[in-house]
């Protein structure tokens, strides 16, 4: 009996006192894209895109991008100020993308990202990217596609996703970046956005070391970079390579390939005198998707192409590794291998100084396994 009375009492109490943590969907503004820049006086400027549907009736109608921005000493402070500017509660839990201005990225992205990691409601699966110039320019720009149907956040996020599919950028989000960012033995790379007049172009990758951006890579290099990370397969991992100089007609010198399978063997060795050497070996199986020269009938001809591709890709890979060493960015994780398998050596050395000087090479082996429906 006492139980029933108690239950009744407490259920009344609970129901009467109401609901504390309600966050009504229709009473909040959803940030879909957030940009961070440093202002000249060292403050953080947050730019947020809040898409609003124009017609409440159908839901599929036009979307109008509202852009808000605010400044503050920290990321959170600027968010709070942003909140005050907006009529309803601002929610970042459905954020799709975080964009850093190049300057901000070069300073320290963790200081800004901290608020995302700390907030239990934040969207950790949002993508991160670095923008050329200011992030606010990318967020507030009126691109052709964002005029009518989709919000800026979705537009940027989809553009990057397409680039991930094409392997021009590595697939990262706020959470996946985090363990690598903390890792003393590994670094990461993020998509690099360049705003053009009517569209945004995912134009390569921004290379990081620790929490800071240290350089960038463009176009085709980025594909080889992704291949070197050991990524197995994406929707279309395609490359166009110059394989000879013989033909006068320039177009005939090129072949386009699509990587079907990519196998990476990554060896890190420490010699008895603590010399570190690292070697990445890629074994690729590719399909030729374009080769105007035709006549892929003979085995020799295919072998020629294979050899040419192997040579050219190995060269590219080594160039990339050299570049990375120059930037002091250990994106493939040589250091991690050292920690795991050569822990005593790792403890002895100062990796930041050592890394640019290690013997670090790559070799690529290409095998053609198909060539479309014509020979």
């Amino acid at each position: 009996m006492i139980l029933k009375k108690l239950l009744l009492f407490f259920s009344c109490l609970v129901l009467l006192s109401g609901c504390w943590d309600q966050a009504q969907l229709n009473e909040s503004k959803l940030i879909r894209a957030a940009g961070f820049d440093y202002t000249k006086d060292g403050k953080i400027k947050t730019t947020a895109a809040v898409p609003q549907a124009m017609s409440a009736d159908t839901g599929t109608g036009k979307v109008f991008n509202e852009i808000f921005s605010a400044k503050g000493n920290t990321a959170r402070q600027s968010r709070i100020r942003l909140d005050r500017k907006v009529s309803e509660r601002v929610e970042a839990s459905k954020n799709l993308i975080v964009v850093f201005g190049e300057e901000a990225a070069k300073k320290d992205i963790y200081h800004i990202l901290d608020v995302f990691y700390r907030d239990p409601k934040s969207a950790l699966n949002a993508r991160i990217a670095v923008a050329k110039g200011k992030a606010s320019d990318v967020i507030s720009a009126r691109f052709e596609e964002t005029k009518s149907s989709i919000g800026i956040g979705k537009y940027l996020s989809e553009s990057i996703r397409a680039a991930e599919g094409a392997s021009t950028v590595p697939a990262e989000n706020i959470q996946t970046v985090c363990p690598v960012m903390f890792d003393p033995g590994q670094d990461f790379a993020l998509p690099y956005l360049v705003p053009k007049k009517n569209a945004v172009s995912v134009n390569g990758i921004a290379i990081f070391h620790g929490y800071e951006m240290v350089g960038k890579m463009h176009g085709a290099e980025a594909v080889v970079f992704t291949l070197l990370t050991g990524k197995q397969k994406t929707i279309s991992m395609s490359l166009t390579k110059k394989i000879s100089d013989k033909h006068k007609d320039k177009i005939l010198n090129y072949a386009s390939i699509k990587v079907k399978r990519n196998k990476r063997t990554f060896n890190v060795n420490v010699s008895p005198d603590d010399k570190i050497s690292a070697h990445i070996k890629l074994n690729m199986k590719v399909v030729i998707t374009e080769y105007p020269g035709d006549n892929l009938t003979s085995k020799k001809k295919i072998q020629n192409i294979e050899n040419a591709l192997t040579k050219s890709l190995t060269k590219d890979a080594n160039i990339i590794i050299k570049k990375l060493q120059d930037m002091n960015s250990d994106t493939f994780g040589v250091g991690r291998k050292l920690i795991a398998f050569h822990n005593p050596t790792w403890k002895k050395l100062d990796w930041n100084k050592e890394y640019p000087n290690i013997d670090y090479t790559a070799s690529v082996k290409v095998k053609v396994i198909g060539h479309g429906i014509i020979e």
Binding site: L6, D21, N125, C178, P179, N343
Partner: protein, 365 residues
Amino acid sequence: MNSSHTITHRQLFFVLIQSQIGVGVLSLPYTLFAKAKTDGWISLLLAGIFIQFSILAIWKLCEMYPKQTIFDFMPKILGTKLGLLLNILFIVHLFSVCIVILILYNNIVSKWIFFQTPRFIVIIILALTCVYCITCTAREIARFLMLVSPLLLILFFFVGYAYTDVHLLYAFPVGATGIKTIISTSTDALIALLGFDTALVFLAYTEGKSTSKLKAMSYTSLCVTLFYCFVTFTTYIFFNPVEIVIVPEPVLYMLKAFSFKFLERTDLIFLTIWIVSVTTSLISYLFFTAKGVQTLFKLHHHKSAAPYVGIICALIASIPGSKLDVQMWSKTIGMTAMIFSALFPILLLLIAIIRKRKEKGAAST
């Protein structure tokens, strides 16, 4: 004891699994990492072996005094007065375990979903739900605990999903912290594995061969240890060793980033299912406590003790407010719980055996 209240040894297995898996699972990797670094999962395995001794002791005790709960046979082993005193102490210990479950549950819920809801409300809804659930026989409790067991598979699946983005290298080098640290950490792991001690009351209701009971208990601890190990190991290879230090609930944090096409923020779903696990372990312990109170006050049915036990626990559990308070409470109670649940049965068994020997000796001479 009414024969219609018995449970089978298969049900015992699920009862113990559900009592063992509870609040601990979310923060276990973090606590272990704080001491043993990435070797925490080894400590966990060791702890799994340690508790086997306690399990054996509990089983032996219950075999010596069949169909009796610990409160019934404690006075028989230690004499009426000392037995009564220890009964009271044991009940206090059980209260404190219930309280710490409520505190930790509230700690996580208020950190992850209910930021503004008053502590007391969050705690009382769980406590009252459990009070409702314990106002019946052991058999019905066992049925329910068995019914919700498939949910553990969902938790397993969610954690397993992390393998889409793990860095196996983070787990290396294995054994770098040294044997000593690993062993000392296993005491922390032991606290998370507590829950098998509810066998002290549930064994009294279990029918069947005593070997199959022991088997059920051992399999329980094996399954739970492996499950915890899997969770811990997964978080260790998902998070960077540097990162995990700042993430007190790595399991939830890990899931926060996952999204499916039809559902995002899997941590919320995980948290919801995890609450069932918390409820089940609290049900076991509250039932245990209510049984103790029943024996102590010689009540007709533990049902009448249940509401008081629940409300008292809820009231005390809503006292600690700050994070540090919570840590202190959970640490102190964790230590006493370890003594009472893991070491005490072994001690009790030794005394019981000596006493029996003496009696036998006395009888023969």
